[in-house]
Symmetry: C3
Subunit: 453 residues, 3 copies
């Protein structure tokens, strides 16, 4: 880590020392980099299923360019781009029944990199058995194509989180490419303060006015990573909201139009998003928008806007005119402009940045453990065969205390009470976890009402 | 300085040695470079006032990107672009009453870099008092915004030259960005020979036919830098013209449509232009076109063409089609194509390049003195409180001598006589300097007429 | 040469070592590189005559940018771009009677680099005699402008090959620029297997169905370089075709619409093409399409399509939409995508790549000899004053043998028999070489017919 450099006088930019370097361990992603090797141990989405048709497509991950294709038999292959014969790009290859054929001399590659034919060669040639084309394993799930980029021997099961199979949810794949490092985009999910300013007070209420209230904030570890806990006073209601980080680079978020107006218990995920490392200075938010009636109280969700480089809420890409982006900036503008790779040594973190700091610590801990030989992985906790997740919105009726300080203490107490139910307890290993959590929240809300009364 | 490398035989390009490097001391401008540090000691224009409206703008100088904004109270601020909190660019900040607010978490910065608010922080936080955001001082004058980029303790007064306040002049700001080093653009002002070729003989008379006459040339130091003195025979008239360099990077030029046809004494400035160092391979001509009846004898001036990337005379930017630029090249084409940074070691300077050589010597002398600890500055000479400048056009009636050599000697004598009046003598420290200089020139012209008669 | 790195297991891309470097000796072209110095010993085409009109043009070769112009007296000059005076680009110069005049201060340069005028200088100045502007020799021939870029003392005669003066041929100049290294584009001519796959089986028959038959292949040295010999069975006909490499970087090719359907003896060249090294990662195919009735059996040739960046057969440039290039890839797509510079250490060459391997060996041998002090050059063999070349298409009637192996042996025997006539024997030094070769082929065909009967 570089040491911090600050100015202390007005009009002193001339005194600025050369900018320190970014934190390479946490941000760099190419082969051999600590963060890159950590993320390579997890399945990473690389494309939407809908993009892989008759033609191969080029994808880029961890600084590598690859060719993704679907054989006519339906199997997907993720190959190194240059033909093993003489290097022609397989993006110009032809998809055949069981593989991809190079256009130049007709070599045929299976989805696993096996060389199936070298037709310019004499029939007796054994060349093709003596080598293999570079390939990565692929897994397709609910409209997303995932690759595994780590050591073959360490390939994990594809993990299914409860939110992927939530009854009544429709999952619509989308992605947006950001011309900046992955970490600063990922960190945004553990930064609840930006919602107060960027999303509400700065230009207009992107989502709902309730977001403009500076919440009580807490940051809590979970078996899969961490959540933030924001607790806001909104009239006679108390709204507790948690976003979820599933280490290292998966995040889940409740719906963005929540306004705290109506009591609810353990409302679930509206966005599942990996922040994938395309290269050191490019990343992609890729995942699903969840569509279900609970997550769209005011009819603002729009499935037709979700897909390549597009999603159905404000300020998520760079397509707007520059002047409009200046007048009403969005997430994309705030995060991309933190520099191609944000420089931590130039930051001045405050109390409201505790979530960002904790996320970095958790990732460092994962990297350290991996360096010590421990295999990264997910929690063994299961609920009905699925891995529990902790994103939620909960709104309970508790009238405000008269004194502002007292009410803040009340909010913190309620935030902690609800979070204990959401994160701790034996209910998380039972198949009816959702019902049990909701019942416990209802009971807690009732007890609070009685306390007040 | 690199040593010179020349070829001496026809068809010998194969013998060419690798190109030597540019003269970094004179041309490079980033922090710590001799020329960069020299120019940082002077106020430098960075934008037109008219460009700084409701939205911040990005400006680039000395290789640094900065954000310039106008607070609602009218003050201008010139700040480092990345927010001191987490690095988001302040180009997406919101202009408020007394500062610029970052869009991401709402930090508010004063025009001097003071941190006025860190609203995500607890009210009792003192963080904002312990650091300052990088800022440079700003001065606004006659439609231009100037910054001071040097050591705070060495900040000079903003200098007012007599030409900035010339009675009857209207000053119209403009600029043009050149994709090449600043020095080769600045040198052009001390290169009167190019006017003969580029501006007149090569394709068509850009200004007036009189420019095509190769003049007698001299180069004379002044209290603020240097002038060129060109003296031309045009029929029964002798036209003496001087452009002015105000060290290090300000220049003034008489009007370009002067044709030597009508007697005049001490006609003044039509263009005031700084050649500012945007970075090592980009510069900007920025300043004012002066509009007044004297400077537009044939009604060719056009104020409506002066502004961002545009000015009202031929060949000053790269907007023309390439083929047209080849057929009728202009200053922009000749200067930009000298290479991104002209390489002095590859030049073959001649007698007509004495002005360019002298300008380089003067800048070197300034750099040397600064290295020895002397503070750069302007002459202490004042005329009515303003710093005198020496640009002028003067035309007097003196019929030609029959012998060409004799007439050339006559021109040199007249050039010297007029220049002595323009540059030397006690009149330059008196409030009515202009009237006195003109009276002396009239008397000199009268005496010449008598001599001839 | 880098050592080879291969993968041997499916799904093992993670094991890939960092890519080895390209073979710099064979591929790099800048001053001092072995391949670059070799090619500098030969006249190289740099432009079409039709491109050099009233205005100078910029050309780029061997990593150098140059200005090519035609003086009003008709002479061509190829000059270093930056004026010897102060560096302004001569692309903005004015073509005059006997040279090119710089726009800035009017220096005038002859086609050989002699400095003819320095008009800003005093008349008595001798500066212009003490140096010379960098120039390369130029030769214009049949619509192409050639430069010689090597050591002046080693400048060879401009070589005239028999195919340049073939009776009845019309030579139409064209070129196409490839954003990749020269060698991979040049090698394509010695790679007959790609015609089977890329040009016929992969998407559609670019030329004729007969190309889709995998031929018997041989590769044979000639006095000027090498040829490939492909022998194909097509019904009752045997089609022998040879492309010709004239070392180092000239190639000749028979016409592409040959279908093997009609007997012919020693059909000649349809394309003469240099693959010129623009820089390490850019090359140009530049030469002539030959138009004559023999080379266009089905009326598919189209002279109007031949010129800058265009030629009259499929897939030769990058102008097609990306998706179309993926569906029906052409030479351009296959070759450019081999990487900016193909990496030989990553290839897996097979029997069908023997021509490519042999071409590399021949170039290496030339480079080695040059390093040992031997002057590169062309064969001294002449036929009617012209240098014989060996490209041909020959089709003779010989019915197939029943057994496939037997017929393959027959094809090899016929290929060898025809090639012996085409390449060996005293007829190649006689003025009526073409008639004699044809007579010998007719006699051979007759003898084969008798053998079979």
């Amino acid at each position: 880590m570089s040491s911090k450099v600050i100015l202390i006088k007005p009009y002193s930019a001339y005194e600025r020392q050369p900018a320190p370097a970014e934190d390479a361990d946490l941000t760099h992603v190419e082969r051999g980099s600590p963060a890159g090797e950590l993320m390579r141990r997890y399945w990473q989405p690389v494309a939407l299923s809908s993009e892989v048709g008759e033609l191969p497509i080029k994808v880029r991950m961890f600084g590598e360019t690859l060719v993704l294709f679907r054989a006519k038999n339906g199997q997907l292959g993720l190959l190194e781009p240059h033909c093993s014969h003489r290097g022609t790009s397989l993006e110009f290859g032809i998809c055949e029944e069981n593989g991809l054929r190079c256009c130049y001399h007709g070599w045929l590659f299976g989805v696993d990199g096996t060389i199936l034919e070298t037709p310019g060669d004499p029939p007796e040639s054994t060349l093709r058995h003596s080598l293999c084309h570079g390939a990565y394993p692929v897994h397709e799930y609910k409209g997303l194509v995932f690759g595994y980029f780590g050591p073959p021997a360490a390939k994990p099961e594809f993990p299914i989180y409860d939110s992927f199979e939530h009854p009544g949810d429709r999952l619509v794949p989308y992605y947006i490419t950001y011309p900046c490092n992955w970490l600063q985009v990922h960190e945004n999910v553990m930064d609840p303060a930006h919602a107060v300013f960027l999303h509400t007070r700065i230009s207009f209420s992107h989502f709902a006015d309730a977001w403009g209230e500076l919440p009580e904030m807490d940051f809590v570890p979970t078996p899969t990573g961490m959540i933030y806990v924001t607790t806001r006073r909104w009239g006679d209601n108390v709204w507790v909201r948690s976003n979820d980080i599933l280490l290292p680079n998966l995040a889940q978020v409740g719906h963005v139009w929540e306004d705290g107006a109506t009591p609810k218990a353990f409302g679930r995920v509206a966005i599942t998003r990996w922040t994938t490392p395309v290269d050191d200075t490019t990343c992609r938010i890729i995942g699903w928008r969840h569509f279900h009636p609970d997550a769209d109280p005011r009819g603002l969700a729009d499935e037709s806007q979700c897909g390549p480089e597009s999603v159905d809420f404000f300020g998520q890409n760079g397509d707007r005119p520059y002047e409009e982006r200046q007048r009403i900036p969005g997430d994309y503008d705030a995060q991309v402009s933190q520099r191609p790779i944000a420089v931590h040594a130039l930051e001045n973190l405050t109390r409201c940045d505790r979530g960002v700091a904790m996320l970095r610590q958790l990732i460092r801990r994962q990297m350290r453990r991996m360096a010590e030989g421990e295999a990264p992985g997910v929690s063994a906790v299961r609920s009905g065969g699925l891995i529990p997740t902790y994103t939620h919105d909960t709104v309970i009726q508790v009238p405000p205390r008269e004194d502002k300080q007292d009410d803040a203490a009340l909010l913190r107490e309620i935030g902690k009470g609800i979070t204990d139910i959401v994160v701790k307890g034996p209910q998380h290993e039972q198949a009816d976890r959702h019902e049990r959590v909701r019942a416990l929240i209802h009971a807690y809300a009732e007890s609070r009402r009685e306390t007040v009364a």
